[in-house]
Each structure stands twice: as structure tokens, then as C-alpha cells.
């Protein structure tokens, strides 16, 4: 029953938050906008084609590298816990692991994968 009460509180609080923001927008915000008022800003110009378009995500390689190192950090947490028990062997293992990853970065760098273009 207590769990049900907590869920009810969340629902009510959420509903109140939605209603308050809606009321704030009506009380303070501008009224309904005409289509020209919603047009995108292009210095007085306009678009000819629709904006649903696919383009080259240039940070793609950088994003993948970031993910790889993010996962490596996850691996380092359990390693840090057992580091004191294992001693120098743990340090060597981690150094080998990091070295291999750094080689990967250097390779990507040489292949110009880190440049914007």
C-alpha cells in the first residue's frame, strides 16, 4: 500500500508540474504565433527545400573513440578495488591494456580520423 502511495505522489506531482508550466506559458508567454512568426531565421531569407536532410556527422570517429575509452574506465573500477591485493602484477596488466588502447589512438590519429573534415 505504501508503494502505491509513492506512485500516486509521483503522478500527482508530475501532473501539477505540467499544469503549472502550461499556466505560466499562458500567463506570461506570447499568444498563438502566426506561421511567418514561426519561420526560421535566415537573415531575411528563406529555405527552398525541407529541412529533413541527412548530413555527414563529422564527429563520428571521435564519438566512437570516446565510447571505447568510456568502457575502458568501467573496466578500471574493479581493477582499482583489487589493486592493493594484487600489487605490481595488476599495475603491469593495466599498463599493457592502456598501451594497446593508446596504440589504437595513435593509429586513428595517423589515419586522420580525429580531424573535423
Amino acid at each position: 500500500m505504501a508503494a502505491f502511495g509513492a506512485a500516486l505522489t509521483v503522478v500527482v506531482a508530475g501532473a501539477v508540474a505540467v499544469l503549472v508550466t502550461r499556466w505560466l506559458r499562458l500567463a506570461l508567454g506570447p499568444g498563438a504565433l502566426t506561421p511567418p512568426e514561426q519561420a526560421p531565421f535566415l537573415g531575411g531569407g528563406s529555405v527552398e527545400t525541407h529541412a529533413w536532410s541527412r548530413y555527414h556527422v563529422r564527429y563520428y570517429a571521435m564519438a566512437l573513440l570516446f565510447l571505447a575509452f568510456d568502457m575502458e574506465m568501467v573496466f578500471m573500477y574493479p581493477w582499482a578495488v583489487v589493486f592493493v591485493e594484487e600489487g605490481v602484477i595488476a599495475l603491469m596488466e593495466m599498463l599493457m591494456f592502456i598501451t594497446i588502447l593508446v596504440l589504437g589512438i595513435l593509429y586513428a590519429w595517423r589515419e586522420r580520423a580525429l580531424g573535423w573534415a
Partner: protein, 443 residues
């Protein structure tokens, strides 16, 4: 006290966000805007409360100005600074289309602040939309009644065709977005309209649209109002010192705009203040400024190798001199004889070289102004203006017109940031380019 009035009191204390649109004859009057107290020049109408039109709205500018007016979120106000020589009233029917338009003399910051106060306190109502509330292009589905279609392939969403495909420079086939930018895109010179095809941040093609300052039959004629001292020097005697100070001031105003574009707005404002009260005695301050600009790492990083222009066909002027071309009309000018004038040049012809070239020319202009005493330049012959050599006769091609012609080839293939930097570095003036041009096609 209600919530609204409390917020209004807070809003009155904030600087007035102003989005400027420069019309015919308004360029010089608009330069003071960032130095006015309590005024903040914003780069998009979405952040603005006041739409400030400086100068005369030509017929070609009217539709974009109305579109921009509607893009200001309410409460908003529209102000026009009327400029002498801009053909006051003639051919400008902005007041007829925008009922709440407030006319004011140029440079009146106090009035802009008062307007904002009236707007937030409710004493003045927001300027109503200028355009009718219709979709510029209505939704069309695939069905006979405009219905239907699935996802991104269905119909013509909001009347605009889906983008076409084209090869991109990385060997992929990607969509092309077609858009028209300008004539009031803040980093660009006033009046510049570019028709662009972009893939992501790469500009595939660029075409220069109709110049809004080319006068139509029956409209007031165009006059150069930005570098007016140099246009005047063709027909009347002027002091060489005045001419050189005007040159230094012109380049400093350009530098302020370039600094603003490169994210150094506060620095640009200080340069603008220096330019507005520039005298021969400011040589030391100008030299210090030139040194810091040339040495700046961030400016070098942003401009190095961007927009390289060199070779034949460049109009004589700072852009050509930044690529090592020594042509300068002052060499053959009697007024500069035995002043020991020698044109300064730079190498590389990129945006960085043009930046260096212009700050060096500011220093040189102040030196010349100091050395020449009260010597006067007699009318006649070509005048070396701040944008390049102005031919002696009327109706001849101007440096800005020649550079505009080369703009599409220069911009094609550039990334967006570099393209804007390139346009900024050329210091174009559309009014100067409109001199000698005929009426626009299709009027």
C-alpha cells in the same frame, strides 16, 4: 504586486536587445550602435525586443524586413533611424506597412531604452504581425486532397520539396539543403544575399543574389555612404590628413566587426570606441592594437589559410595587397608625392593576411596623416579608397563589385565557419557594388 509586474521591473533594468537591419545610406549611422549605453546588439531577431531599421528600406529590402519583424517574439517594437541623403521618405513605405513604426534620428539610444520600458510596462502594445497568418507553403500529401504519405517520403511536407541528393566530398551521397541567406545576416555586409546549397556544414555552391541597393527606375539613386570621404575626393579638394584618418577609421570599424564575428565582441567594442574618436594622437594606441591583433593566437587559428585570393584579376586594394600585389593609387597621386609613401603588402592572400594588411594600413595611415601637415588633395585622378582604387569616372566597376563576382567560386567547397570568415575578411559594400550597375532584371 503580480508576477508579471515583478518580471517587468526586472526586464526594464536589462540592456535593450536590438536587432539592426541596415538599409540604403544607413551603414555609417549603424556603426555607433554597439557603443551606445544600455543597448545590446543581438545576432538574431529571436533574442531581440527592438527591430532597428537604419536608413531607407529599398523595394527589394521591404519583404525581408517584414519577415524579420515577424520573427521577433513579442512584445516587440520597430524603429527606423532616418538618415540624411538616404532619400528620406522617397520609395520607403515601411511606415505604411508597419503601423507602430517609430521614426527617430540616428544614434538615439535613449529612445530605444524608453521604448523597451513602455513595452514591458504595458504602456505600449507589441507591434502586430506584418505578414498575413498563412503558411508560406502549405502541407501537401500524396493524395488528391493533400492527404496521405508516410514518413519522410510522403508528399511534399509544407510545400517544400525534399532535398535532392548529391555526392559529397567524402564519397557519400547526402542531401542538399537549399536556402537563401540575407540580406540582414549579421556577420555579412548589409544587403548581401547568398543562395546556398549546403550539405551539413559544407557549402557546395553559392550564388550572389540580387543586390538590394541597385535602384529601380523612379527610386532615389544609390550613393556610397560608408566611405563617403573618398567618393567626395573625386570631385572636391580635401585635406590628405582627413582622408588618411578616414581610412584608419574605416579599417578600425571593419576590425571591430571582424572581432565580433570571431567571438571577441567586447574587444570589438573597444576598437569601435577608439575609431569613433580617432585622432593623430592615437598612434601609440593603434600600434599596440595592431601588435596584439597580429600576435593573437585565436585569430590566427581562425583565419589561417581561409579564403585564399591571389593572382590576376583582383581589384587593386587591400585584398590584392594582402596577396603581395603592390598596386596603390596613392603612388601616382600628386598629393602624396615626396611624403615617402610606399604601399605595404603582405603575403598569402588568406583571411589572416587580409587582417594583418588592414591593421598595418591603419598604422601607416596615421603616420601619413601626421607627416602630411595641412597638404590638400586636388580633385581628379583615381582615389585610393579603403576598399581599393576608385576610378576617376562615375559608373566604373568598384572594388566591391569585382570581389563580389569572385565570391561564388571562393565560397564553394568551404565549411560554414570558414565561408563566413571569408566574407567578413573581404570587407564588401553592397552600395559601392551597386554604383554603375543597371536596374535589376525582372522588375
Amino acid at each position: 504586486m503580480g508576477l508579471t509586474s515583478g518580471l517587468a521591473r526586472l526586464a526594464r533594468r536589462a540592456p535593450v536587445p536590438v536587432f539592426p537591419v541596415v538599409g540604403a545610406g544607413g551603414r555609417r549611422a549603424a556603426t555607433v550602435l554597439p557603443t551606445l549605453d544600455g543597448i545590446e546588439v543581438v545576432t538574431t531577431p529571436r533574442a531581440a525586443v527592438v527591430l532597428l531599421v537604419v536608413g531607407r528600406v529599398t523595394r527589394a529590402l521591404l519583404a525581408p524586413v517584414l519577415a524579420l519583424h515577424d520573427q521577433l517574439p513579442g512584445p516587440r517594437a520597430a524603429v527606423q533611424w532616418r538618415v540624411d541623403g538616404g532619400g528620406d521618405g522617397d520609395g520607403d513605405d515601411l511606415a505604411g506597412v508597419l503601423p507602430g513604426l517609430v521614426a527617430a534620428p540616428p544614434g538615439d539610444g535613449e529612445q530605444l531604452r524608453r521604448l523597451m520600458g513602455e513595452l514591458v510596462s504595458g504602456a505600449r502594445t507589441s507591434s502586430p504581425p506584418a505578414l498575413p497568418p498563412v503558411e508560406p507553403a502549405a502541407w501537401r500529401g500524396v493524395g488528391p486532397y493533400g492527404q496521405g504519405g508516410t514518413g519522410m517520403t510522403g508528399g511534399v511536407p509544407y510545400g517544400r520539396p525534399m532535398p535532392g541528393w548529391a555526392d559529397d566530398r567524402d564519397g557519400l551521397k547526402l542531401d542538399q539543403l537549399k536556402l537563401r541567406l540575407g540580406p540582414a545576416f549579421p556577420p555579412f555586409p548589409p544587403g548581401l544575399v547568398l543562395d546556398l546549397e549546403v550539405q551539413g556544414d559544407v557549402l557546395q555552391t553559392a550564388a550572389v543574389g540580387d543586390n538590394p541597393f541597385v535602384s529601380w527606375p523612379g527610386d532615389p539613386p544609390v550613393t556610397v555612404t560608408d566611405s563617403v570621404e573618398f567618393a567626395a575626393a573625386r570631385t572636391e579638394a580635401v585635406a590628405v590628413a582627413d582622408l588618411e584618418l578616414a581610412r584608419a577609421r574605416h579599417h578600425l570599424v571593419w576590425l571591430a566587426g571582424a572581432l565580433r564575428h570571431h567571438g571577441l565582441a567586447a574587444r570589438g567594442e573597444r576598437v569601435l570606441r577608439l575609431a569613433s574618436g580617432l585622432t593623430i594622437g592615437d598612434a601609440a594606441a593603434v600600434q599596440a592594437l595592431a601588435r596584439s591583433v597580429v600576435r593573437s593566437r585565436s585569430l590566427a587559428w581562425a583565419t589561417d589559410g581561409v579564403g585564399v585570393m591571389s593572382g590576376d584579376g583582383l581589384p587593386a586594394g587591400p585584398v590584392a595587397r594582402a596577396a603581395g600585389d603592390v598596386r596603390d593609387a596613392r603612388v601616382a597621386d600628386d598629393a602624396y608625392r615626396d611624403l615617402g609613401f610606399e604601399p605595404v603588402t603582405d603575403a598569402g592572400g588568406d583571411a589572416r593576411a587580409r587582417l594583418r594588411q588592414r591593421v598595418t594600413e591603419v598604422v601607416q595611415a596615421l603616420e601619413l596623416a601626421e607627416r602630411c601637415g595641412d597638404r590638400r588633395r586636388e580633385p581628379g585622378g583615381a582615389v585610393e579608397g579603403p576598399r581599393g582604387t576608385l576610378a576617376a569616372g562615375e559608373g566604373e566597376s568598384t572594388p566591391s563589385a569585382a570581389l563580389l563576382e569572385r565570391l561564388p567560386d571562393l565560397l564553394a567547397g568551404q565549411e560554414w565557419g570558414d565561408a563566413v570568415t571569408t566574407v567578413v575578411s573581404l570587407d564588401l559594400d553592397l552600395e559601392e557594388a551597386a554604383l554603375g550597375a543597371g536596374a535589376p532584371v525582372g522588375t
